[in-house]
């Protein structure tokens, strides 16, 4: 009897790689899994290990296991997904301008006037000097956050 068994390692490995790739936007919401995307790396690592076992079975024991056609396809797609992921995480998101002229610690923050959500002009100096309603005291400081938004 020479029945080919389902080579489930290949499919589990492929599925893990897909999840590892697609879960980046979700995991990026949490600092613990965003700053270093270790969960994604773990998923890719485990997935590729499963694929490796599956491919060894498909080509090493072809009498027992299927997957000589599906294996290389799933493996290639998974490796490409892992490579693209690494490209994005290690290269693409680090392509930022040098910003050598940005104000530095110890320097005075350049004052500015910009409209708020009610279109009222707001200056940095006014933010620093306007007292809080409850304490009547001006703030000890202001945090400026430059955000990559489109609004």
């Amino acid at each position: 009897m020479n029945q080919h068994r389902w080579n489930w390692h290949l499919w589990v490995g492929f599925a893990l790689c897909l999840v590892g790739f697609a879960s980046l936007p979700v995991l990026a919401r949490f600092p613990a899994t965003r700053d270093v995307p270790w969960v994604n790396f773990l998923l890719f690592g485990t997935g590729l290990a499963f694929l490796f076992v599956g491919l060894r079975r498909a080509f090493g024991q072809p009498q027992q296991y299927r997957g000589k056609i599906a294996g290389p396809i799933l493996g290639t797609v998974s490796v490409l997904a892992a490579a693209l992921f690494c490209f994005v995480v290690f290269y693409e998101t680090r392509q930022l301008p040098a910003s050598t002229g940005a104000p530095k610690v110890g320097e005075r923050a350049p004052d500015f006037v910009l409209p708020d959500t009610s279109n009222r002009p707001v200056s940095l100096s006014s933010l620093l000097s306007t007292p809080f309603v409850n304490t009547q005291m001006p703030p000890k400081g202001v945090v400026l956050v430059f955000y990559r938004g489109y609004w």
Binding site: A28, P31, R34, D35, V89, T93, R94, L96, P97, S99, T100, G101, A102, P103, K104, V105, G106, E107, R108, A109, P110, D111, F112, L114, P115, D116, T117, S118, V122, L124, S125, L127, L128, P138, P139, K140, G141, V142, V143, L144, V145, F146, Y147, R148, G149, Y150, W151
Partner: protein
């Protein structure tokens, strides 16, 4: 548009708009062509300015996925006199 966004997100802090990127340019934080449709946008950056207007702490991240976390800012703000 940003008013709706602030209300939806529950932001209580002052939310300013720099549509011509004038202040972004003055702070040398422009990231040309990096927007979804190739617009010029700001690189993400955070500055802590003390009451005299001097920058006490700044973070120009090297990776735009990685931004300052609220706890980091609170820790730095606690050192202001």
């Amino acid at each position: 548009m940003s008013r709706d966004l602030c209300r939806k997100a529950g932001y209580k802090f002052t939310f300013l708009s720099d549509p011509k990127a004038e202040v972004i340019r003055r702070y040398d934080l422009l990231h040309p062509g990096a927007g979804v449709k190739g617009q010029d946008i700001a690189r993400p950056a955070e500055f802590l300015v003390d009451s005299s207007g001097v920058i006490r702490w700044a973070n120009l991240t090297e990776d735009y996925r990685v931004r300052t976390r609220p706890d980091q800012l609170i820790e730095q703000a606690g050192e202001l006199k």
